[in-house]
Symmetry: C2
Amino acid sequence: MSHLEDIVSKLSELGYRLTPQRMMIVSAIEKSDDHISAEEIYAQVVAKYPHVNISTVYRSLELLKRLGLVTETDFGGGRLRYHPVGKGHHHHLVCQECGAIIALDESLLSSLKNALLREYKFSADLRHLAIFGRCVNCSK
Amino acid sequence: MSHLEDIVSKLSELGYRLTPQRMMIVSAIEKSDDHISAEEIYAQVVAKYPHVNISTVYRSLELLKRLGLVTETDFGGGRLRYHPVGKGHHHHLVCQECGAIIALDESLLSSLKNALLREYKFSADLRHLAIFGRCVNCSK
DNA sequence: GTATCTGCAAATCCTTTGCAAGTCA
DNA sequence: TGACTTGCAAAGGATTTGCAGATAC
């Protein structure tokens, strides 16, 4: 069973309606390799279904977020990005020069997470963490 | 010489005018223990000088940022925050439950910074990193 | 049939900008 | 004086909301 079906069946289980808009929005999020913004989802959906409104995209994201099916990450720049939880969360390095987003291996941060728990008894939520800086190309 | 005088003399050296608005804006940033937002600066300044406009705050921040006197940090939530560079950097653990802010030891992050540089050739800017999660009291 | 969803338009929040008037040096 | 600054109002982009009509179940 694909993640898409996962999300769709979950919605239906919980009594939410499977409208074409929702299906297309979920599908756009799933198809994306990367984290996707509301605007990008909207662009994809509107191409096949010109009548959708971007407020429907936002409302669907709000629902999926609330149900824990999608995570919302703030990479800065005043635009939120979305990612299906089923695809696993990673952490990101964001280049402030060129905007590149680099996926970060879990292990590097898990040691940080453990250290924070051990030394500060602080349970860090690193799911949405984005670390800003400069990538290889831009720091030359 | 205080940081405030530092900034003021720098502005004047460079030929920028020392208007009362600028003085009050710089002073508000300096007085703040924490990172301060444009809105908060505005609120402080307007209390003493009701005529200021928030666009002046933004323009001053833009200037101070450009001159490298103030850093701008995006802690998420669609609001940028400012801090004088002279006051040094902080790392913070922010409790999402009770709002507590815990100062974080430099050493924990310097090893992360090194690892990122070594393994990703990514030069991380951790000067104003905020890590979200749950503090001791709230994670019980 | 009916409660849930949607489209639309207008509102909100944070930030930026154009322009004419004001002011620091 | 004259270039730099400001205030004002309006624009900007991202997101949210109120409401009446549409639709999945």
